[in-house]
């Protein structure tokens, strides 16, 4: 009996010790001799480039960096924050940024960076919450019109035919449509359709961001224009072409023109190296030219123990030199004006993407908007037969409710 009592006690004590060992201890001070970096990788090229950058900085600063590619960045970030153990530095995507900032997850460090003013103003806005510039944009992408040059020439089109407005886009798409190929394709989602809305002169929010304008006549016009392209048969969406995304349909030759960003370069080089293509700026609508910018920023958790080291690392990562190295490795555009200019010279075939930043806007992304946008995207499945005004009416009321909640 005595012996079993002792062994039971020992077992219980052992359990407590092993559980305690599972929890990690904190460390103090803004400086640290090691950092963890969590990022969502687009592929091996990006992972390798980040590892190389981290190694180079470690040598310079003496701070070890553990680079970790996330399999599901959102989930791993959520888990890290709720477990009180977030990574010291991470990719923060544009669509989640406002949510994270409004919940006070993020350290507003970007304004203190020596190169804070070098970033494009549109990107500074994208990563500002309540007029405070939170985190440094990592790079950016805009949308352009990617054209398959072989199919273009086969249809008898020349450089003069490159679409500059909605009408020329329609006629080019019609001429490119054949039995196996559709003229135009893009993902059926707000991140593409929203461009047409902006080109029509519409928007999701009023200038000051206090009112929802999703059901404006301009937006209705944009949706109806896209519906008419689909009705012509010259626009089909990737799912109907049995492609995971528009870039895949483009690579397979099922679509002659797609609306995508610079990431298509890497994907085509890896999977469809034989496709010849060129990139043009998106055509202007009745309300002028417009495109979207998408970006990630370098997020640092609020009140981080390793803040100072992480900020130094961000400074290194956002230097023109390092950003151009990333551009070379996986095709993103530097987030600083000087870096982007060098990029446009170095990669003239991507100049259209850089030119777009002049008139680019950020997709609507205030805290809570993501759920509304994903609901809108889901309702777009029936776009071809839907009533544009009703689609936008639902979006309007949902977005109004979300905005009201976001503003408290």
């Amino acid at each position: 009996m005595k012996r079993s009592q002792w062994s039971a006690t020992a077992l219980a004590a052992g359990l407590v010790v092993s559980l305690a060992a599972c929890s990690s201890g904190g460390e103090g001070g803004g400086q640290s001799d090691s950092l963890t970096l969590l990022f969502g990788s687009s592929g091996d090229a990006e992972t390798a480039a980040l590892e190389a950058a981290a190694a180079a900085w470690s040598e310079e600063s003496g701070v070890e960096v553990e680079v970790q590619a996330a399999s599901d960045l959102t989930q791993q970030l959520g888990q890290g924050f709720s477990g009180n153990n977030p990574p010291d530095l991470f990719y923060m995507s544009w669509d989640q940024f406002q949510t994270y900032a409004s919940q006070q997850f993020l350290e507003p460090y970007a304004a203190d960076l020596p190169n804070a003013d070098d970033f494009y103003p549109a990107l500074q806005d994208q990563f500002s919450y309540e007029d405070e510039f939170y985190c440094a944009p990592k790079d950016f992408s805009t949308l352009g019109l990617v054209i398959n040059t072989d199919l273009w020439e086969a249809a008898g089109l020349t450089d003069a035919d490159i679409p500059t407005d909605w009408e020329s886009l329609r006629s080019a798409a019609q001429r490119l449509t054949t039995g196996e190929t559709v003229g135009l394709s893009f993902g059926l989602e707000y991140a593409r359709l929203g461009v047409f809305m902006n080109q029509a002169g519409g928007s999701m929010l009023s200038e000051d961001g206090t009112e929802v304008t999703a059901d404006s006549p301009e937006n209705v016009e944009a949706i109806e224009y896209v519906q008419s392209l689909a009705a012509d048969g010259s626009l089909r969406f990737p799912a109907d072409l049995e492609a995971g995304w528009a870039g895949e349909a483009f690579g397979q030759g099922k679509a002659a023109m797609v609306i995508e960003g610079p990431w298509i370069n890497g994907a085509l080089a890896a999977d469809f190296p034989d496709v010849n293509y060129q990139v043009a700026e998106l055509p202007a609508g009745p309300g002028g030219q417009s495109t979207f910018t998408f970006s990630n920023c370098w997020g640092i958790p609020a009140g981080s123990d390793t803040r100072d080291s992480a900020v130094e690392f961000v400074e290194f990562l956002t230097s023109d030199e390092q950003q151009l190295a990333f551009s070379e490795a996986f095709g993103v555009i530097p987030s600083t004006e000087s870096g982007a200019q060098q990029y446009a010279e170095q990669f003239p075939e991507n100049a259209a993407f850089v030119d777009g930043v002049e008139y680019a806007t950020s997709p609507v992304a205030f805290a809570g908007a993501a759920a509304v946008i994903s609901d809108f995207n889901a309702s777009l499945e029936g776009l071809e037969s839907a009533d544009a005004a009703q689609l936008l009416g639902d979006l309007q009321s949902n977005l109004e409710a979300a905005l009201e909640e976001a503003q408290g």
């Binding site: 009996m1 079993s4 009592q5 039971a8 006690t9 077992l11 219980a12 359990l15 407590v16 559980l19 959102t74 989930q75 959520g78 888990q79 924050f81 709720s82 009180n84 989640q96 949510t99 994270y100 919940q103 006070q104 997850f105 799912a239 109907d240 049995e242 609020a302 809570g368 993501a370 759920a371 509304v372 609901d375 889901a378 309702s379 499945e381 029936g382 949902n398 409710a401 979300a402």
Partner: protein, 372 residues
């Protein structure tokens, strides 16, 4: 009882010590997390810092109201997820149970050659990772995939399975020319119109239903097989001598004897289908058009993506309540058909006669156990 002291007084301490490891493990990994999740469902915790003792505030039943009573996107999403899952459960549970029973009876037949092979073959999908199977299904059900090719031989133009958000009941109504909601356009429970409730599972969901039936039937076949092997041959022979044919024997003799197993299979099936998550995660989180969104996935999405952990936990607890309620209901339905004497013997209902018996039994046991 009170007099019990002396040499046995240490026993209760020893007893607690012996159970301490189990209590600790269950407490730390089960009781505390569940209670904490319950607290989170009544708080505005945003996922930053600890849920208890941090900045999280008690907000009452607000999280529950958001998805149950307050009109808006959250309520409609929840309603949609419940509708989708309801059709999923209604189709998967009967189909997989019937198929499992059918397979078990087949591989239990003595005349069947190579029984071992078939048993393994049918059980194989159950031991394969559901991720792997889902990915295979994604390929099988593409627009020009194997399934549509086979349908093509039969002259059927197959749908674009995983990208088709149309409900099968809506499609069926359309055959009869009924395409507009009409009077059913009125808003029903949880912010969805009655017309939406009647959509039936989407074509994409049907592919997932096929997948679920395919993967889980093997597991339940094993349970039925074990139960079938417990039925003695003499019962079978007795029924034959009484002149029962194969069908009569199955429905009047075998099936009633399988009732406890049937209850187990139906309960496990019900729980598993209401919690479906991994297939949804892999097929794009509710796409097409939110027609494969389920409460389990919605709870995950609300928590991790929208950082509304309270609402996510509330959805999880509502799901828990649904499962418990349905399990109790099912237990009641299966028990009511039992014969009276059997019920008495178990002594589990509130009948005073039963209660007395049960008490007597307890006293007897206590007397026997308590004797020094």
């Amino acid at each position: 009882m009170a007099k019990r002291s002396g040499i046995r007084s240490n026993e209760s301490v020893a007893g607690w010590l012996f159970t301490l490891p189990a209590i600790l493990i269950v407490g730390v990994f089960l009781a505390v997390p569940v209670l904490m999740a319950l607290w989170v469902s009544f708080s505005d915790w945003n996922g930053l810092g600890p849920p208890v003792g941090g900045r999280a505030q008690f907000v009452g039943a607000e999280n529950y109201a958001d998805v149950l009573t307050e009109e808006g996107l959250a309520q409609r999403d929840f309603g949609t997820s419940i509708r989708n899952n309801l059709y999923y459960v209604l189709l998967v549970v009967p189909l997989q149970t019937a198929l499992a029973l059918f397979l078990a009876v087949q591989v239990n037949r003595r005349v069947l050659k190579g029984r071992g092979f078939f048993r393994t073959a049918f059980y194989f999908p159950s031991v394969t990772s559901s991720v792997a199977i889902t990915v295979v299904f994604l390929f099988l059900f593409t627009a020009s995939g194997a399934v549509n090719s086979i349908l093509g031989w039969l002259g059927i133009n197959g749908p674009n399975w995983f990208n088709d958000p149309s409900g099968v009941l809506h499609n069926l109504f359309a055959v009869f020319g009924w395409t507009s909601p009409g009077p059913l356009g009125a808003t029903g429970p949880l912010g969805l119109t009655w017309w939406d409730w009647l959509s039936g599972p989407s074509v994409a969901m049907c592919a997932l239903i096929t997948l679920a039936v395919f993967t889980t039937s093997g597991t339940f076949m094993l349970l039925f097989l074990a139960a079938l092997q417990n039925i003695g041959t003499e019962i079978d022979e007795a029924a034959s001598i009484d002149g029962a044919g194969a069908f009569r024997k199955f429905f009047s003799v075998t099936l009633p004897m399988l009732k406890p197993t049937l209850f187990t299979v139906l309960t496990l099936g019900l729980i598993g289908t209401w919690q479906v998550f991994d297939q949804i995660y892999l097929t794009g989180g509710g796409s097409p058009g939110k027609t494969t969104l389920t409460p389990a996935f919605l709870a995950y999405q609300t928590s991790f993506e929208d950082l509304r952990w309270g609402r996510g936990a509330a959805i999880a607890f509502i799901l828990f309540a649904i499962i418990v309620a349905l399990t109790l209901l099912q237990r009641r339905i299966l028990r009511d058909r039992d014969e009276k004497p059997k019920r008495r013997r178990r002594g589990i209902d509130g009948d005073p006669h039963d209660g007395a018996t049960a008490q007597a039994v307890t006293r007897l046991n206590a007397g026997a156990g308590g004797a020094p």
